[in-house]
Amino acid sequence: MNHALRYPSRRGFMGGAAGLAALGITLGAGTRPSAAAETMLDVFAPLPPDPSPPGAAKFSEAAFQAWQQAHNARVKYELLAWPQLHDRMATAFASGSSDWDLVYMCGWVPEFLDSIVPYADKLPAATVSDMPASSFKTVTVGGNRYGAVFTLSLLTLFYNTEHLEIAGLKGPPQTWDDLKRYTKELTRDGRYGWVLDYGDSAGIGGTASYWMCFLQQAGGKMYAEDGMPVFNNDAGVDALQIMLDLMKLGTDPGSISYSGINDATNVLLSGRASMMMNWPYMWKPAQDPKQSKIVGKLGGAMLPAGPAGTASIDGTDAWTMTKHCKNTALATNLVDFYLSPEVQKRQALDTGWLPIRLSVLADPEVQKALPNAAVVLEQAKHPYDSFVTANYNQITQALGTEIQKALQGKQSAKQAMAAAHDQVASIIKQNQ
């Protein structure tokens, strides 16, 4: 028996490996010309279930492949869980190591203004004219449009229709008084009338941003023309007072410890709470029996009106282009693809994130699958300012912390507003 055949010598093995490596290099070199012809686009985006692009989330995958082939391009996604996006971007931009062409933004445009470029005016007119003009507000600085919002994402009211029916309440609450009454009456049988995530102070979806909804409903605003805070007044105090009233009347006590909307959403989906304000994406998981115990029992409505009417805040999920973008024309084309009616429709139907295009929002199929689309569209007719500034995180952290203290009964609404006002004014002055 030839042992050399059964047990290759070390030298033979090394020789074989070297041969394979050489073959690999040759083949690799052979394929390089066609690869080089491809244009690579790097896109930084959130992981699903947050709003994610086709190819990253499961929708329009075939169309996405076709777009890449048609443009001889390859799109490489870098995906992170939403809470980590801001800090990853901050470090990448600070160190100059960012090689992204397009990046997702959520109210951070003023903060990262020096790292991105205005491009949205180069989008086709047909696309822009089909988007609400107000959707560009949070991505426009100094008259330049730095981004394109790709989902209509406003906070609206979600409620458990069965709970309302049992309590003998007809229709969703329309006013603050209704909201307080409903919260009290729905708090029974081991469940709570209201739930929200008050655990995280800062950012869009943090405690301060929820208060901003109430602030606008009370007729208030965050800043004066000179950029200084103007919320330490009746409107600001009233906005916080209703949060405190709801807390006493029947907010899930766990709300103060929930950080992230998913914590609060899970409480509503399990039937342990009856009402909350949430983003439009919630509709879809609520209809999934694997995730929800309230399938078919979810209702949607505009946020209850305060003294000045209803109002909301904008999620501001947008695509922006970095100053290092390798191919601005192709990147703009990719955003236009993300905003195309077909992709927008699949985004709505498959992920639950509403389209930004008005024609797709009006599509009967979309409206049938996502009844909350009409509600969000209606909500968009009222104020929805998220008050994003370059110091948004720092400001909402200070503001949200004072609100949390009030929610815990450590101070009154008036004291909280006075303390928050002083801190916000100080932050703004320091950064001027």
Binding site: H86, D87, A90, T91, F93, A94, G96, S98, E111, D114, S115, Y198, G199, D200, S201, A202, D252, P253, G254, I256, S257, Y258, S259, D263, N266, V267, S270, R272, K323, H324, N391, N393, Q394, Q397, T401, Q404, K405, L407, Q408, K410
Partner: protein, 317 residues
């Protein structure tokens, strides 16, 4: 003395310089030569960030256009921090957390080590159980506890309610002091195993003959613990205290996952504050100043740790 060879190599050998210094000195020089590259690499990897951080702590650092703009401001960042209520709260939280953690970990660790060193506790399975909390990845540990402590679905509430100990679910992370205390308990749970093993190693180094002698002298269990075990563990305890204090200053993952510093900043520790100021607020200079304060505290403790190790070396040599 030169070696004379027939091929004439004698001249060359005779001209070669004679080795200088003793054998030991030459051995050290060669050792330094071999260790040198590693020392240089370490100095670059560790030293550069430290120096850069120290400098940044004295600068106003702004992110602009993908570049960092630096402006020298001396001690202004530190002046600001020591007047800032947020920093002082974080400092207070950190001190409370560190004291609590060191005391609890050392007490529980010593108890566990004594149990494991006892003949009833020498089953391998007990040591395996002890190691589990330490072996769990830090973030996984935090997520695990997030679900245990969840106000609505948490296992802890379910168990306490089923035992009739509570009527309503408790919001464990709902008030600043309770949340901080629970963070402490969670970190103690994770830290006890290592310190217990450290103590166990210390216990096993105490000669058995000392216990026999104490018994012969009529010492009961308490007196044996007091006069034999504790003196024998003195250095180990000091090392455990210093190490655990250093580790308690580094806690970040628990705060990030469980509370994000809330509620009302009640669980913000210095490490988390440094992260928040640097990456959330993009104030890199002030963030570096906070990091430098943590570094200074750790550095002092590290010197103490090295100093504590020295007598042991002398004893063993």
């Amino acid at each position: 003395m030169p070696i004379i060879r027939q091929d004439g190599a004698v001249a060359a050998r005779a001209e070669a310089p004679a080795p200088t210094g003793t054998f030991e000195q030459r051995r050290r020089r060669v050792g330094l030569f071999f260790v040198g590259p590693a020392l240089i690499a370490l100095a670059l990897i560790l030293g550069y960030p430290i120096v850069r951080s120290l400098l940044m702590g004295m600068q106003n650092v702004h992110l602009a256009g993908g570049h960092i703009k630096l402006h020298w401001i001396g001690w202004a960042n530190y002046d600001y921090l020591f007047q800032d209520s947020g920093f002082l709260l974080a400092l207070r939280n950190t001190i409370l957390f560190s004291f609590g953690e060191v005391a609890l970990v050392c007490l529980l660790g010593l108890g566990a080590a004594l149990l494991l060193n006892h003949r009833f506790g020498r089953f391998g399975i007990l040591r395996v159980f002890l190691i589990i909390p330490w072996a769990i990845a830090p973030v996984a540990n935090a997520v695990l506890w997030k679900w245990i402590l969840n106000a609505n679905y948490g296992v802890l509430n379910a168990i306490l309610k089923s035992l009739g100990l509570i009527d309503h679910y408790v919001v464990w992370l709902g008030s600043p002091m309770r949340a901080l205390s629970l963070l402490l308990i969670v970190d103690v749970w994770k830290s006890v195993p290592f310190i217990a093993l450290l103590f166990l190693a210390g216990l096993q180094r105490i000669p058995k003959i000392l216990y026999r002698a104490a018994k012969l002298d009529g010492a009961n269990a308490w007196n044996q613990f007091r006069f034999v075990t504790m003196p024998g563990l003195r250095t180990t305890i000091a090392i455990a205290v210093v190490l655990q204090t250093i580790w308690s200053l580094r806690v970040f993952d628990l705060v990030f996952v469980l509370t994000h510093g809330g509620p009302a900043d009640g669980t913000v520790l210095l490490n988390f504050l440094a992260y928040r100021v640097t990456f959330n607020f993009l104030n890199l200079g002030r963030g570096a100043a906070i990091a430098n304060i943590i570094f200074a505290m750790s550095f002092v403790l590290a010197i103490l740790y090295v100093w504590l190790l020295q007598p042991r070396r002398r004893l063993s040599s």
